[in-house]
């Protein structure tokens, strides 16, 4: 399992110019916001030390805002910095955040869960043509071969409801959805084959918990899976605990996950975690017509109910 599709089709270059335009707008806007004092800090991306990389940064003065960039290497979901898990960032005061479409869905989810208020943050939305996948060669310009899997079926290239929009959308090539195909492949298997598939995948898990740490929705101050009196989920990297951990995590994210696929990106063992999340999203769409979107919803599908919900599975 790789995060890129290299062999399937000829690689198509994906609009490099849009990233430069977005970078210029982000810098100007961040400098303006910081110098006029309307925000205390801007959460954005700065170049990493190696060529072709970028890393998240919390910029607090207008001069440093000139280092902000937006490139295909800006893979992180910065919404993470607005959660309870990163208290020190919220303490700085009013914040501005650079957000791609997929990150904006997570932001909407957090607002819906009352983790922050829309008026407390300034959202600099960026038009995003896609970012690098995990195994991509980052010295080469972004092409359909090095594109992250989630970007192949992105539905929000242009974010909506933001305070400022950076960049304009170029014409994008049509790409085959890989994740949907993989999901369909798994769904067509027999239960025993699926069990074998997931058993193999989960057995690789080393329980580094990077998937949890990078997830904007895993902001619980105490995780159920860290508790040991009583212990709900075994915490050592053995098959039983691993399977339980991933099932529990998928369950906790059901109806909340924004599909940013950060969990899958940071997984050192290349476990296709987003498949589980996608499955749950699909399931809840089918059951309750709920979809993670850009509009904050007051309640998720598992936090509310209707009296006439389907109960054909209950005898």
């Amino acid at each position: 399992m790789t995060n890129t599709a290299s062999s399937i089709e000829q690689s198509v270059l994906i609009a490099p110019a849009v990233y430069e335009a977005a970078t210029a707008t982000i810098r100007a806007e961040a400098a303006r916001l910081l110098s006029e004092g309307s925000v205390a800090a801007v959460i954005g991306y700065v170049p990493g030390r190696r060529a072709g990389t970028a890393m998240p940064a919390v910029v607090t003065d207008a001069e440093a805002a000139q280092q902000l960039v937006f490139s295909p290497a800006c893979v992180n979901n910065l919404t993470l910095f607005l959660t309870k898990a990163k208290k020190e960032v919220r303490k700085k005061g009013r914040l501005a955040i650079v957000a791609k479409g997929c990150d904006l869905k997570a932001l909407a989810g957090l607002i819906g869960e009352s983790q922050l208020k829309r008026e407390e943050i300034v959202v600099i939305g960026v038009v995003c043509a896609g970012v690098y996948g995990a195994a991509a060669d980052r010295r080469a310009p972004l092409s359909s071969a090095s594109l992250a899997r989630k970007c192949r079926e992105c539905s929000v290239h242009v974010p909506e409801g933001v305070d400022l929009l950076a960049g304009t959308l170029p014409e994008l090539p049509r790409l085959d959805p890989l994740e949907a195909a993989e999901l369909a492949r798994l769904e067509a298997m027999t239960p025993a084959e699926r069990w074998a598939f997931w058993k193999e995948q989960f057995s690789r898990c080393v329980r580094c918990l990077a998937c949890r740490q990078v997830c904007p929705f895993c902001y619980c101050e105490q995780c159920l899976c860290d508790r040991n009196r009583p212990q709900a989920v075994e915490s050592t990297p053995r098959p039983a605990g691993n399977t339980a951990w991933h099932i529990v995590r998928a369950m906790h994210l059901a109806g909340r996950c924004a599909g940013c696929a950060e969990c899958e990106r940071v997984c050192p063992m290349d476990i296709p975690l987003n498949l589980l999340n996608r499955k749950m999203a699909k399931e809840l769409k089918a059951l309750y017509g709920h979809e993670a979107g850009l509009e904050p919803k007051e309640k998720g599908p598992l936090a509310e109910y209707r009296e006439d919900d389907d109960q054909s599975f209950i005898k």
Partner: protein, 167 residues
Amino acid sequence: MHAEKVNHDFEPKIIAFVCTWCTYAGADLAGTSRMQYPANVRVVKFPCTGRIDPVFILRAFQKGADGVLVSGCHPGDCHYMAGNFHARRRFAAFRGLLDFVGVDLQRLQFSWVSAAEGGKWVEVVTDLTERVRQLGPMREFKELEQEECWSGALAAADLQEAYEAIP
């Protein structure tokens, strides 16, 4: 009303997570009415079906359950007004997830059994026990419990050879 005593090769372990207000009282009624039902079921009492976390079901399977029953009040009868409505959504989603991971959903049953339905309790428990008996033991989670991490790789022939080659 005495059930015939039959010897079976395999006695399934069934864990029943029940709500204290309806199904527990229903099972109690079945008992006080001297109805017979399989002794394979172990009842765990909860304040409400809304309290039953999917983790409990996983834990039951890991610890050797061959079948799990979750049962509570009929919709609208919840002692806490809406606990069973929330549980209904949660378990509908959880079923989808378990199926996707490859667990046989026939081993997992959800029911509404009220305090007056001693007969239904007997029926549900008997059905599930018989079904699980046909399916045989639940091996998947128990095997996971027994396996060490990396077990497959460590048992490889080339590693064994390398190990034996150490002077």
